[in-house]
């Protein structure tokens, strides 16, 4: 029995992706799902602190219109050692923004392999799949996998119940973001 070789199709579609670093690990995200890339400094004055103890990965929210956009520390989300993020990805059609260390490069992928089913825990929701770039395997994150609808409700409830405080009043908040 031999593993099947990958299917070859005549029409290969490419998808543009951003390779970014979080805690020194490289991830990919579809560039189409990122609406804006901003430096942490450019949003440092605007965010408000979120004090939801059950969700350590979300410490800040950005006010956009009448809604909060919750800022997820990507390293903490993936269970990695917290790092010093420098960029914020504001996701398209989402109330989630991502704190990342840096952008490695923008490139294209032509093939996305499903995460093998042996990976059977939270990573199933974290990743759309895996892609191979320059003989390296890179996980492609699922933009919808950073905050579940239940977590979003929790955050909304937390911010609605007065746990959302002005960022400027939170001691050390600026350095934390």
């Amino acid at each position: 029995m031999r593993p099947h070789t990958p299917h070859k199709t005549s029409q290969v579609r490419a998808e543009q992706i951003i390779l970014f670093r979080a805690s020194n690990e490289i991830f990919a995200i579809s560039s189409g799902s990122v609406q804006e890339v901003r430096s942490v400094d450019s949003v440092a004055g605007a965010p408000v602190a979120v004090g939801e103890p059950a969700l350590k990965k979300v410490r800040h929210a950005i006010r956009r219109g009448d809604k909060n956009v919750y800022v997820v520390n990507t390293a903490i989300h993936f269970g990695l050692r917290p790092s010093a993020p420098a960029l914020v990805f504001l996701l398209r059609k989402s109330r989630v923004a991502l704190l990342v260390d840096s952008i490695e490069k923008m490139t294209t992928m032509t093939r996305l392999q499903a995460l093998p089913r042996a990976f059977c825990n939270e990573e199933q929701t974290w990743y759309r799949g895996l892609t191979v770039l320059d003989q390296n395997v890179v996980p492609v994150v699922d933009p919808a996998g950073f905050v579940t609808p239940e977590e979003l409700s929790l955050l909304d409830a937390a911010t609605g119940s007065g746990k959302l405080t002005e960022f400027g009043n939170a001691v050390g908040a600026e350095s934390a973001i």
Partner: protein, 160 residues
Amino acid sequence: MSWMDQSDTCSCVLLRLGERRFALTAEQVAELAAPSRVFRFAHRTPEIDGVILRRGRVVPVCDVAERLTGKRLTSRRFYLIAARCHGQGMDWIAIPVSGQCELIRADLTPAGDSDSPHVAGWLSYSGEVIEVLNLNALMPASHLSEPPATGNVVPEVQAQ
């Protein structure tokens, strides 16, 4: 009726994990591959070490030695690439082994009720009684519900 139907003899691959030998039925085994780079990324399945690239496919590496022998392998000489069936699907798994593998034919005794779940059967070879492994019992099982049937969960997809 085939010869196989009349006999309990079947083809198995013997694999070495440290001091002990185990077996897999040959139909589950794809190939024996030389050690290659293990790619690691963030995940929460402790049984999985990382992934290797084999024939353009990403294959998870699952070191079963510690679970079977109580010791981690100190050296990985090969990866035994084996198939694991789940429902209607199938996954490839790379099992690090510490020595050459051997294809044999032997009489297989089915596992009994008192055997561990990872034992699919027993075989006797060269004076040694060897466990035939049940891969499904050794591999991590999903703690989440089956993912929805969208484009990104089929075994292989084109980029959107």
